[in-house]
């Protein structure tokens, strides 16, 4: 078999394993909610919308499925996959088991951008919350990147620690700014609304968000998957990676920017959803081991399914009320993480 054929074969085999699971999760996302809808109803709606089948379906049900639940499930999947992959990449690059996509200051910056637009009235109402969040995220990341560079993270040794420290400093600063703006300008209702957004919220998601989130998650995943072997080479640090032929600086820059961009976009669509980027990589590692060629797809799939499930739970757990999805991810994530930690410890020896 030629090398290209091997690659294509691996890709097809991976897709055959992952796609049915993903499709089932999205289907569940479309079925379950305050009103439960049968799977054949969901499939009929899909046939109508995608193939123009013209099957008889109640227009209300069709509206719920097509305009609300499907985009929601798809964005949840994209977001879960992107955050999980970003977590995998950052944990490997920074050689820190506690690294997650928000360690680059991104979620803190996004919150500041969001409150600057919605509460402080930046842009005079012409700017959307997600636009503010996206710019805030990039601004904070820029600040952290410059700070890390100035602190000497350009060199190889200790670079990882500098980035983590710069990220913490950046997060503190931007969180303080957010608190300042809220304290100065927000009324109680606004403060409540923004807190809701800060904990992650998928209820505003519509199709345009799908067209942004899904291609971005796919592109980000492909870039990261392409660097899987390079990430393996970071096992013993960046010097060791360099001695194995990895262009360390280029890989670091490409991957950190890719993860920063993925995270910034996801946060601007759904708010900051904690725990996924931290916990899913560890869970996936527990399932398939630390090798990045298997870890990358496993983390993406686990992240996607996990976030769809969390979204379902957030919609049905309190009847008539939607819980912020970040609350659910933390409530499920923290105990499962504890289980993984304890069991991982037991099998270690």
């Amino acid at each position: 078999m030629s090398a290209a054929a091997v690659l294509a074969w691996q890709g097809i085999r991976g897709a055959c394993l992952a796609l049915p699971v993903l499709a089932a999760a999205v289907l569940a996302g479309a079925m379950i909610g305050e009103t439960s809808l049968a799977p054949d109803l969901v499939l009929s709606v899909l046939a109508n919308k995608l193939a123009g089948a013209g099957l008889p379906v109640d227009p209300v049900d069709q509206g719920i499925i097509w305009s609300y639940r499907l985009p929601r499930a798809l964005v949840a999947a994209a977001c879960g996959a992107a955050l999980a992959v970003a977590g995998v990449v950052l944990q490997a690059l920074l050689r820190n088991a506690l690294a997650d996509p928000y360690i680059l200051g991104i979620s803190a910056g996004a919150s500041t951008g969001a409150v600057a637009v919605t509460i402080a009235g930046l842009g005079g109402g012409a700017l959307s919350l997600s636009f503010g969040a996206f710019n805030g995220a990039l601004l904070a990341f820029g600040f952290v990147a410059i700070l890390a560079r100035a602190a000497g993270a350009g060199g190889n040794r200790a670079a990882a620690a500098q980035i983590v420290l710069a990220g913490i400093a950046g997060s503190q600063l931007f969180n303080a700014l957010t608190a300042f703006i809220i304290a100065k300008s927000a009324n109680a209702d606004q403060a409540r609304g923004i807190m809701f957004w800060l904990m992650g919220n998928l209820s505003g998601v519509r199709w345009p968000d799908v067209w942004l989130a899904v291609p971005l998650a796919l592109a980000g995943w492909m870039i990261c998957r392409f660097h899987a072997r390079a990430l393996d080479a970071f096992t013993f640090g960046s010097d060791s990676a360099a001695s194995l032929g990895i262009p360390v600086r280029r890989v670091q820059v490409v991957l950190i920017f890719a993860t920063a961009l993925m995270t910034a976009v996801m946060v601007s669509i759904v708010g900051s959803i904690g725990f996924v980027g931290l916990v899913i990589p560890h869970a996936a590692r527990f399932l398939v081991g630390p090798g990045h060629r298997r870890l990358m797809p496993a983390a993406a799939l686990t992240g996607a399914v996990f976030l769809i499930a969390a979204d379902i739970v957030s919609r049905i757990i309190i009847p008539g009320q939607v819980l912020p999805i970040g609350v659910v991810t933390a409530l499920i994530g923290a105990p499962s993480f504890a289980v993984i930690l304890v069991r991982g410890q037991r099998t270690a020896r």
């Binding site: 690659l7 393996d232 080479a233 032929g245 630390p290 270690a348």
Partner: protein, 253 residues
């Protein structure tokens, strides 16, 4: 593979760690690098492997400036085992050695049975076949050291740089690793603290305070006067009663 250092100097933040070091290692030769702690052995290794750029001078690999090769091209020619390299990843012994194949793999040249063979062979060379499935965290210091050496061997380099490869090793594995690298057809530079082990190499280079103070045949470079002065001890030759070559004996001055 021939490597040459020309007038290498290296300084960080105004502090000179290495000054005007010139030496050449011929194809197939094993050069021992000795010197007190902080004399610049590891620094010289990093310069020879291209991990650090010299402030002055240049490194030539097969008469080509090292600076002109890409990281990948260097890694296909030079393997280095650093003095310390640890990980918290729960990676298996086998995967550690497999990392050595990284410079030879690409998207279009994926892992093949040849790579598997080279990894198995390297594991065999360091007598670690039985540990292939073990996790890194469960291995002893010497076992980890031997895996790093196997990883470097799996890289199939023309030049092998080993920074104190025998620390952590028991005497059996010290002798077998040294024997193995002497028998390899690969040019080797090895930093050693055991001067009697350095005596068994083809040539010895002695570093002190970042300068090369002696370089040549082991018995000349490690003459008791040089050793005594540099390490601040008293050294003398001792004849082996069984008729093997003389060795160095030391006591505090």
């Amino acid at each position: 593979m021939r490597i040459e250092a020309r007038n290498l100097s290296f300084s960080v933040r105004g502090k000179t760690l290495l000054q005007d070091v010139s030496l050449a290692v011929q194809p197939g030769e094993t050069l021992a690098l000795v010197g007190p702690n902080g004399s610049g052995k590891s620094t010289l290794m990093r310069l020879l492997s291209g991990l650090a750029k010299p402030s002055h001078g240049e490194v030539l690999l097969e008469d080509q400036p090292l600076a002109r090769l890409t990281r990948r091209e260097i890694a296909q020619r030079i393997a280095i085992v650093e003095q310390q390299a640890d990980t918290a990843e729960r990676i298996t012994a086998q995967s550690v050695v497999e990392l050595g194949r990284t410079p030879w793999l690409s998207a279009l040249k994926p892992w093949s049975s040849e790579d598997t063979q080279l990894v198995d062979k390297a594991l065999h060379t360091v007598e670690m076949e039985g540990f292939a499935r073990r996790e890194w965290a469960t291995l002893s210091g010497g076992e980890r050291q031997r895996l790093h050496i196997a990883r470097a061997l799996a890289q199939r380099p023309g030049l092998l740089l080993l920074d104190e490869p025998t620390n952590h090793l028991d005497i059996h594995h010290q002798l077998s690793i040294l024997n193995c690298i002497r028998n390899l057809q690969v040019t080797t530079v090895v930093a050693l603290h055991d001067l009697n082990q350095a005596l068994t190499c083809d040539r010895v280079a002695v570093l002190s305070h970042g300068r090369l103070v002696a370089c040549g045949a082991p018995s000349q470079a490690l003459a008791p006067e040089t050793v005594s002065e540099i390490f601040g001890i008293q050294a003398r030759w001792v004849q082996d009663a069984e008729g093997a070559g003389p060795f160095l004996s030391f006591q505090l001055a």
